[in-house]
Every structure is written in C-alpha cells, then in structure tokens.
Symmetry: C2
Subunit: 729 residues, 2 copies
C-alpha cells in the first residue's frame, strides 16, 4: 500500500461543473471556418449566409412544351374565330427553353392544331402565361441559406443551380484521443491474464464524429508520467481538444490529473454523477483537455456530459435533444443524494402506457448501454423512484420503434436472442426487446401490465406439469400460453469435467478438497497440470508432482495445480476407471479424490453459482435438491446469484466457479461439459387480449418458421415441435 | 411541330405505382453483405447477429482499488476484534486487476489500515464483494447485436471489447446516376442563353447517401438515343440501381422511355402526383432503372417516393418517418382530383397552435423545398384544404426548432434574411422564419393568430403617417409596433437606365417605342449595342446601325438592339445632354426618343412588373400613381405580380421587363439603376402579448445589435436609427 492515490477534490454537480468549465474556456472556444466544395458539403454547417450568384431560371423560360407566341397576336382567338399563326409568328419550345422578346407567352402543345397555313389557336394566351420568369425560383443576390445551417441534399442542388461551387463551412473541430494504461491492449492483440482490451478510444472517436468533429485516436500510452505529459503537451498545441482516457480516477497509477496540473489548469476534478464521477476538466495551452474514466458507461456519460456539448459549440451544431416519453418505472430505483444518476432502461409500450425496465446500473455494464432504449435521470436531490411511478425517459430509439416492439420480460433463454434477431428481418420495423428477471418476475411484470409476454418454465411440484397452473393461479384476466420449446436443464461444469461431477450430490460442500491452496484453475490450467502429471511419470495418480502452470502452454498463470495433485488420496480415485482422455482427467480425478478424502486443513468445496430467486432454473434446482434430500446450506455458492444462463456459464468457464445449473445451449456456447438433470417446458405466457396485436402475430409466426427451427437446431438441446401453438386458458 | 412527343400512359396513384413496381422487382432486390472493420462500421447495418468472442471482463476483476483477500480470513473481523492480514494473505489491486484463487473478495483501500504487522481489517468481507465476475458485462458466445442493427459508437466499443474486429455488414447499394439533356451544363461552366445548370444529379447523389447507398454520378449525356441506351445498358450490368434524370416527361427530346422499353420493361410511366408526375419505373437486366423528372421539386418527390424506399430495402435501413404535427393551414389550398399533391409549407408555433403557411407550389420552385419546414399532402380524392382547417404536416425540421422560431409573415425586405441569419448564431437554437405576403397579408395573418410578427410599411394616405393607424383600425387586442428601418422605395430600371426613365410618368404606355421588334435586351446587350453604336461612328445618335449583339462580348444572343436604334427620332434625344458614360446610354437614349416619337407600327410600351395586391409597395405605387394622375390601365404590366422586391429586381434585370418598384437594397443586389420615389417606414407589428417570449426578445435585441447595423450598412439604403424601439398602442 505504498503507492500514492489521488484523493478527489469535493465532487460537484454536473450542471455546476459544466457551468464552471464552459465559462472558464468560453473565450478559448473558437469557431473556425474553411472553404469546401458544395458537392462535398452534405451535413456540414454553413459558416455564413450564402447568396445566389445566378438566378434560376437564368432567363425567362418556357414552363411547358408548346409554342412561344406574342400574346397580343392571340388576343381575339376563340373556337368560333381561331387565329392562325405563321411560322414566323411562333417558335416551338420545350419545357425549360428560353423565351425571348418579342414572344411573351407559351401555348401548350395540347392546345394547338397544326394546319397547312400554320398553327391554329382557339383561345387567347394571356401575357406571360406558361413562362417561368427569370429568377422565379432563385434571384441572384438573394440569400439561399443562412449561416449555421446544416446542409441537406436539396440545398446542394439549389446552391449549384445558383452558381455556387464552394462555400464557407464551419471547420470540424479536431480532437486528439489518448488511451492510457499499462494493462490495456489493442483489440488485435491476444489477451493475457489481466489484459483489458482498449475500446473506449474507438467509441470516443465515433462519438466525436457524431457530435460533428474529427477524432484522431492515438496508440495507447503506458502509465508513464513523462510519456503522458509529452503526448498531452504536443497534442494541445496541435488539436482543438484533447481527451485522455482512464487515469482520471483516484487509482494508484492515475497520473492524468498531475500531468494536467503541471501543464495547465484543472478546473474540475470529480463530478457528482453516477456512473461517471472521475472526470477531469482542464485547460492546457488554451485548449480544453478532458480526462474521462475508464469504465465504459462512465466514459460514455462523461463524454456526453462534457465533450459532446463542447464539440457541438465548436462545430456550431445544434444540441441533439433526445425524444422523451413518460414511462412507468417497473422496479424501485434507490439512488444516493450524493449524485445524479443515469439509469439505462428498456422501454416498451404495453397497452396504452410506456413502461421502463431498469438495466444493470454498474459503470462497467457497457451492454446496458447497447441494450438500452433510453435512460432515466435520478436527480441528485432525489433518493430514487418507486416501482410504478412515472418518470421521464430520454429515448435512444425512436418512439415509433418502441411502439412496434414486443416487450418480453421473464426467464432467459438464448432463443429470445434468436427471435429478436429474426423479427426485424422478417417483419419490417418490428422488434423484440427482452429483459431477464426470471419466470416469476416475468409473470409479475405481466400482472402489472409491463410486458406483453413472459417466458416461463415453472414446474408445478404437485402436478409435475409446467407453467399452466401458475397462470391459472396468478391471473384473473383471460390468459394464453404460447408453446415455446422443450429444453434440457443440467449442471454446467468445466470442459472435460475435471472435478468429475456426476450429479447434484457432488455439489455438496461436505465433498471437500483438502488443502486450502488447492485450485483447479480453469480448464486450460487443469489440462496443463494434467500434461505435467503425465510427463512426470505417465502415472495414474499425479502424487507429489508440483506444476507451475505458468511455464506450461495453458497460459493460466496462477493455477497452482500441483498442490491439489499432491493431496491425492481416498478410495474413489483408485476405483475409478481411467479413460484415455488425457492426464487432465487423471489430475482432476486426483482432486476429486482429494475432496472425497478426510484430509485436514481449510476445506474448499465445489464452487457453485446459482440463479436469482424467481428464476425457473432456481425453482428447478431447489426442487431437485429437495428430491435428493440436499440442504441448500450444503451448496457452497448457493447465495451467489447470476441473472442468465450465459452468466452462469461464463462463471463456470472462468476460474471462480466449478458448477452451475443452466440449459444445454448455454453450456455449448461456452464450451462447457453438461450433466443432464431434467427436461423442461419453456413457454410464453401472454394476456389473451394481446394476441391480435400485429407484432405479437409476427412473434407467433416466427415461432413456427423454418428459420427459427433451423437456428434452434444449430444451438442444440431444443425440441420445438409445438412452438407457436396457442393454448387459451 | 414535327417532333414526336411521348404521350403518357394513364397516370396511376403513387401507392398503386409503388405496389406495382415493388412487387414486379421484389425478387430482384437482393440484400448483399460484405465484411468490414468494426472501427469503420459507424452507421452501418449489421448483416447478421454478432456473438461475443471474448467475455468482458475477461477474468474475475477487482471493481475497486484495494486489496484482494480470502473472504474466509476476514469472517470475524470487527472494530473490536480486527483481523490483521500478513503480506502473504492479500495482494494490492487496482480497479480492473484480475483476482485469482485463493482470493475471492476485495476490500476497498479506504477500509483498511496499514500496520507494522500487516493490514488491519475491521469488517468482514463477503465472498465476491467488489469483484466483477468474468463475463459480468459480456459473456463469450452471447449475442451482442442482432442483425439489421444500425451501429452506434457504443456498439463499436462493445464489439471491440468482445474481441470482434470485423463484422458482416449490409453492403450499401450502388446507384448509377445519369443526368441527360443537351441544354444542361456542369455547374463549373459559364452559362449561356438557354443553359440549365445540372444540379439534380448532385442532389440525388446525396439523397442516395442519406438513404444508405452509394451514389455514382456520371457526366451529363446529350439527348442522344444511342448514347443514353449505351450508358443505361452498361450501368444496369454493373450497379444495383440506375437513375436517369430528365427525359422522363412527354417532351420532344425525351428518349428515356423508349430506351427503357427497348432495353427492358417499363412497369409504370406517369404517376398521379404533383409535383412529380413524369416518373418512369422500369427494369433493365434485372436491375431497377428509374427515370425522374427534370424539375427539381418533381425530381425530389419522385426520388423520395420511389428511389429512397428501394435503397432502404436494399440497405436494410428502416424507413425514415418524419415527425408530424397537426397545423392550421393559413391559406386555402385548391387541388385537383387528378393527383395527390405535396405542398411545401412553413410551419410555426404561435400561441398554442401550429400554423402552416403554403409556399410556392410549382415543380420548379426548388427554394420552396429549401425554405420548407415540412409538407402537407393533399390526397388525390380531395379538392383541397380550406384556410384555417387543420391538416397533418410531415416535418423536415424538428418540432423543438419550430417551437423556438419567430414566425414572421408580411412584407418582404432583405433585412429579414439578415435577421434570420444572425438569430441562430447569436441565440442558440432560436430561429426566424419569414413568409412574404405583403403588409396587409401580414396583418391579416396576425389577426388570425398565424404569426408573431408582421413586417409592414403601410402609408395612411390621410395622415401621411406610416403603419400605426392600420394597427389601431384593425386590431382590438393590445398591439405594439417595433420600429424597423427607414428605407427608400423607387423604380428599379436596367443598369445605366437605358430607357432613361425618370419618374412614374415615364411608365405610361402612351410612351411607346415604335416598331414592335424593338427590344432593349438586357443591360449587357444594351451595352454591347452601345459599343457597336459607338464604333459605328462615335456619334450622339445611333441611327441606322444594326447590331447583332450575339457577335459582341455581351453574350445576350437575341438582343436585336439595332432595330431599336433604327427607330430613333423625336426631339427629346436631341435635347438631352449626352454624358460621357458610354454609348450604351446614347443607344438607350435613342430608344427612349423613339418611344417619345409618334412612329407607327405595333406599340411596345415600357414593360412594368408590379407587386401583388396587399403589398405595401403596391399601396405606395397606387398612391403615387394617383398623386400623379396616372390611370393604372396606362401601365403595361400593372397586372403582372411578383411576390418580393428581389423577384421584381430579377425581372427587370432580365429581358422580360423594364421597370418595377422596390427598395434600393434589392436594386443594388441585382446591379440595377434606381429612381428614388419615396422614403418609407418599414416596421414590425406584434400583438403585445408576444413581447415577453424569449425568441421575440432575441429578435428585439438583434434589431439593436451592432452586427445588424453593420450588415444594413453593407446593404445600403437603410436608416436604422430607431430599430428595436417598441411603441405600445
């Protein structure tokens, strides 16, 4: 703990930070102009008013195909006394042809009759009829576009018509972006333990584009004071703005604030906002330099709060204001008085009300931004929002898109992603949005009128039947069950099942590994350890072999697998048939045997990861534990909850957990082994009144489509024989 | 009339045309994919669902700066019985650092005390506290983005985090654009008589971009059947779509439809829509080929109706639906049952209602599209909309922009453009929109609650006072007059005043030029004729000199100025002092003298252009005629109405008119001579209740600003001494 940490100055509210910073740099912000070609000016902002060089039309022009005449010559023409014009008295014109004196009117081709003597007219032409006077559309010298105007395709056409080839446009501000951090790697690099793939700078680069600037993203700089200082000093001289990413928090290697204090002035350090507190707003060499936090959501919010408005000012672009809706918040949101909070939400329209379901609130939850339909701001002076309260949501998607979206809340399965993927492709401008709160959570959402559909897989322990009894018990209104899929639930374990888990009984914490250092590592390190055991004597038991997996190909540095191997003992290992599947199995078997043994030391049981309460998988797990006579207290990790099958699978694939319950498709997606526990029915509960909505109909059609069935076959583990069947209850 | 004209097949409604064409080509439309870099994917559409390659975080990661510990070691820590951890029992971690077994919890730096023995803990850590589990945000194998998703900056960040470097994106359809026409010139070329600057193709090119495609614009092709056929045949083989511009109407040189019938199949020719009837929808070599009309508004509407949806289909982009408002239509709109009509409108919010003022309805009125805030569709089965009726307006601008816009309806002056230019520059997101209907029209609009401000210059003939008496007479509600400018009205005549017009009396049609062929041409030809006259003898009168201006530098082909010169006679020319200002004056003098004479032949009087009824300038003109005892019937062109000073100026600068009344600044802008008639007061009428609106306050501030006064000085002819002064009535 020797390293120095930055302590925040007192954080200040966003509005105050903005006010303070923007007024400090107000005189430094300059709007630059440049001359650009009109043909390349789409979406650019005019630097000043633009005046026509030519009129359009450039001359008095025929507005019709026909003949140009002297109106006076036709003055008394009528059906009874037609006028015949000789060839010298008219000229044939097409639309757009110039009309010159002495001609001052055009008669449409349809209204004349050609005769041997000439052209016969049966109605008088009034002066200037069917002639577009010079400058009718654009008058030379008149203002075509004002300054500060965003150029559209039609403007380009008119500018060229008016003889304008080049215009003064507002120059797009150029923004230097420096990712920093010793642990970050480029996306192309192979990640190692502790690597963080640098992606914020690419997000910023594109956010700069969207705001109206040009982003220049530089290669990552290590956490090195001199290097960071050098880069910032040079960039501040050359660019209109500088962004430094990460290094803005109070961590031990966060040099940014020191660098900026040395090079210029730090106006604000720390903003009372969540996520996004660690922001540095500084000025170096007359240029705004902004330090943004490393967590992607914090980075995004910090950028939107401070960088976007600055670029818009320099680029003379109007502030983009999101469309808003008033929506019912589906879940209580508690927030601290210490900060303003941006909560990402899914938004749907169910019946005649908009409903917003909060997404993950963590600063690292970048996917919450990807999935969000909008966000809800909890002001600093508010302690939160109660479930059911109405709050204003700023939308990321269009209101219309949201109105055409099937709102699915309930149990998670990968087939929801598949349906969401197929929907807009097969049905124009229709979408599926799903939020994962487990089966019971989904039914509660249906009851509150917050969803159209709740995917559920709820076993009725008494009847052994799935789903239907729950709908009958919980709803008074007419309901329907749309049949979904049969799927298989089981225990997901690491690849090749190193701990040889065969059923629920193996999850009990009585089943311990002796030796507190014992660690299976991830499957790679297990395999590496196994390899080591093999090379150490090609024996059935890997006793007394200490392996440093770091030196092995596996690459998992800390797998201290040897310790485990050293504790091998117990009868079961000996009695186990050793298959030829690589010594990794042997090693694991050794570990398992260790667990079975009675050696002393700190016991490290199988590390289980559970699903959240209300999840059908949790219900099933509890049911199966009960059947097997296992007390949940015996499960190490029973309290550790994950929200989706995939999150459980990821935990098991990593080095923090050994087993978790989930569906086969999730295990397959993560390359895990799978111990089948029970088949189950995953269906869709829906109030009958929604069945006639067009997007619900589309949803039903997808369930019966060939494409859906093909995709399920690829995922594996599903039986979709009854998919899309509707049972009215 | 020997040339053959295409006759339309019966035109069909837009929806029917679209249905017929799109179903004919449904099987031909293919959505192509291509692999692109994620870093270059902003705004692209995903071709298929994208699944994560890596989890994020990639490992169990510390969520805080602090120390990683074994939770079990801290189980009984409390303030009274702290636990001290030795150096081997913890590891210092920064946010983002990996946490490996045996450690399974993180304690924040703030919560520990360093002692000589080790680190002291005074609270237990629960397992997995402050640890972001592997895959917390993104789980390897999970779907990050569905297909058909438009990629945003945040998506790019997440894709890279998930190890995705390249994605399958929908290929942007490539559209070949061929301008055709013998008369069209490139914008860089110097226009000659009859030239049309080709700009539609550039508009299309950018409309293709906006719709999601890539436009390839080719050089103009002359009206040559073989060339057009060759270009279309080749392009249909190479591009996803072909657009041919102009040549789609029934004009004499319109080969397009013949070419398309020869090369493929014409599905639709002619659509019942206004503007935009002459559309050809065809298929050549399996590719959609669309012929669009030449008039810019027709071209635009044709493109939006048929090309945009096709590109969106191929590019898999959602249909862009404009925001709509219900607005009161300010003027009666009569429309034929023969077609659906798109009427461009200015939209404003006055009080609590939206008001839409129709703009020029002509197909050639490209500026009506530039100026429009939206459009109102009059369905084919409707005969129009009554003034005051509410209709739906599809907006081009955002509703918010419209709500922040000062609606100005009334008399036109160039200073309105100046104010509109200054406004958004000086006041963020505030705008001025002005519609020109004359002073009385403006006051009527105020009375109907359709405008905030009416610019007026109305002389009270009895009192000789301007404006105030009209407000007192016409309004019951409290009104105010915002002082505008003093400006000068006069007669605008061609440069160097070739007809030597000195006052209103010279406009009388009794004052004729003998010889119906007599023509002054534009000022350039006048000058050329003058030069010729000079070289023909350097004499004071240019008698008997025939000049073909086409051979002269002036470039105005048809100026048959010699004829005029040939008619010189009469006493006044002789008596006139000849100034040294070039023989052009002499020539003109000769013409004027001719007018004064009594020669026989068809009389061609001075060609006047008037302003529309209700315009203050018209009121002034009538007043001055009355004062001078001139009957309006004596003014040739009294019935020819133009809506703005600049339109009058343009007419006078062209070869269709000799004189018109207007303000000095308009004459200056068009390089015209100006005969002062009267000074006048151009002010702003406003209901007093609007004075406190923020955008009205901004308007007032601009009138008093230095920038406004500087700009007026540049325009010339204004006295802005009292600008911005408010007189409450």
């Amino acid at each position: 703990m020797q390293r120095k940490r930055n302590l925040y100055l007192k954080t200040i509210p966003v509005e105050e930070a903005r006010e303070k910073y923007f007024s400090a740099i107000a005189d430094l912000i300059t709007v630059k102009h440049e001359t650009i070609k009109v043909t390349e000016s789409l979406d650019r902002i005019t630097g000043s008013a633009i005046y026509a060089k030519y009129s359009s039309p450039l001359y008095n022009a025929s507005a019709m195909d026909g003949i140009a005449v002297r109106a006076a010559d036709t003055a008394y023409a009528s059906e009874t006394s037609p006028v015949v014009l000789k060839e010298t008295d008219y000229v044939v014109v097409d639309t757009g042809d110039p009309i010159h004196p002495p001609f001052d009117a055009v008669i449409m081709a349809e209204d004349i009759v050609e005769t041997e003597d000439g052209v016969r007219i049966i109605a008088s032409a009034h002066p200037w009829q069917h002639i577009r006077p010079i400058g009718e559309d654009i008058v030379a010298g008149e203002m075509i576009l004002p300054g500060n105007h965003k150029i559209r395709a039609i403007d380009i056409g008119v500018l060229l018509s008016a003889g304008i080839l080049e215009i003064e446009a507002v120059k797009r501000p150029e923004v230097a972006i420096f990712p920093t951090g010793t642990e970050i790697i480029e996306p192309e690099e192979e990640p190692e333990d502790g690597s963080i793939i640098e992606s914020n700078s690419r997000m910023f680069e594109n956010m700069v584009t969207v705001a109206g600037g040009i982003g220049h993203r530089f290669a990552p700089i290590a956490d090195d004071y001199a290097k960071i200082r050098g880069a910032v000093a040079q960039a501040a001289g050359r660019y209109d703005m500088v962004i430094i990413n990460a290094g803005s928090s109070a961590g031990t290697e966060d040099y940014t604030v020191h660098v900026l204090r040395e090079l210029g002035e730090v106006i604000v350090h720390g903003v009372s906002v969540k996520p996004g507190k660690p922001v540095i707003l500084a000025v170096v060499a007359g240029k705004p330099v902004i330090g943004l936090p490393g967590y992607p959501v914090s980075a995004y919010i910090g950028f939107e709060n401070f960088v976007t408005p600055l670029i818009q000012m320099m680029a003379r672009r109007p502030e983009r204001l999101a469309e808003t809706v008033q929506a019912h918040i589906s879940r209580r949101l508690v927030s601290s008085l210490k900060h303003k909070e941006y909560v990402r939400v899914k938004v749907g329209k169910v019946g005649d009300k908009f409903v917003a379901a909060p997404l993950a609130r963590g600063a690292g939850a970048a996917m919450s931004l990807v999935r969000a339909d909008g966000f809800c701001i909890i002001e600093q002076n508010s302690e939160g929002i109660e479930a059911g309260d109405v709050a204003e949501i700023a939308l990321y998607r269009s209101r219309r898109e949201i109105e055409n979206t099937v709102v699915v809340i309930g149990s998670h399965d990968l087939i929801l992603d598949v349906i969401a993927d197929i929907m807009p492709n097969a049905y124009k401008d229709m979408f599926v949005s799903s939020t994962h709160v487990g089966s019971m959570g989904g039914l509660m959402a249906l009851r509150r009128g917050e969803a159209h559909i709740a995917p559920i897989h709820l076993l009725d322990e008494e009847s052994g039947e799935y789903n239907i009894s729950y709908l009958k018990k919980m709803f008074r209104e007419p309901m329907a069950l749309i049949k979904g899929v049969h799927r298989i639930q089981g225990i997901m374990v690491k690849k090749d099942n190193p701990l040889r888990i065969e059923g629920l009984a193996d999850l009990r914490s009585g089943m311990e590994i002796a030796g507190k250092e014992a660690d299976c590592g991830d499957s790679a390190s297990g395999a590496a350890a196994g390899d080591a055991g093999m090379s150490a004597g090609n024996a059935g038991t890997a006793s007394d072999v200490r392996v440093d997996a770091k030196e092995m190909a596996g690459g998992a540095e800390r797998a201290d697998a040897g310790n485990a191997g050293a504790n091998v003992g117990g009868v079961r290992a000996a009695g186990k048939k050793i298959d030829g599947k690589a010594a990794a199995g042997e090693y694991a078997e050794g570990k398992r045997a260790g667990r079975m043994g009675t050696a002393g030391g700190n016991a490290v049981p199988v590390r289980y990861v559970n699903r959240q309460r209300g999840a059908g998988t949790r219900v099933l797990f509890d049911y199966k534990l009960k059947q097997a006579g296992i007390d949940p207290a015996e499960i190490n990790g029973y309290e550790r909850e994950m929200a989706t099958h995939m999150a459980v699978a990821a935990a098991v694939a990593g080095d923090g957990a050994d087993a978790g319950m989930g569906v086969l498709s999730a295990a397959k997606a993560m390359g895990l082994d799978f111990i089948e526990i029970a088949p189950e029915e995953y269906d869709f509960a829906i109030p009958a009144k929604f069945l006639e909505l067009p997007h619900i109909k589309a949803f039903l059609q997808i369930l019966q489509s060939a494409e859906f069935h093909d995709r399920l076959a690829q995922l594996g583990g599903y039986d979709a024989g009854r998919s899309g069947e509707v049972i009215l209850l």
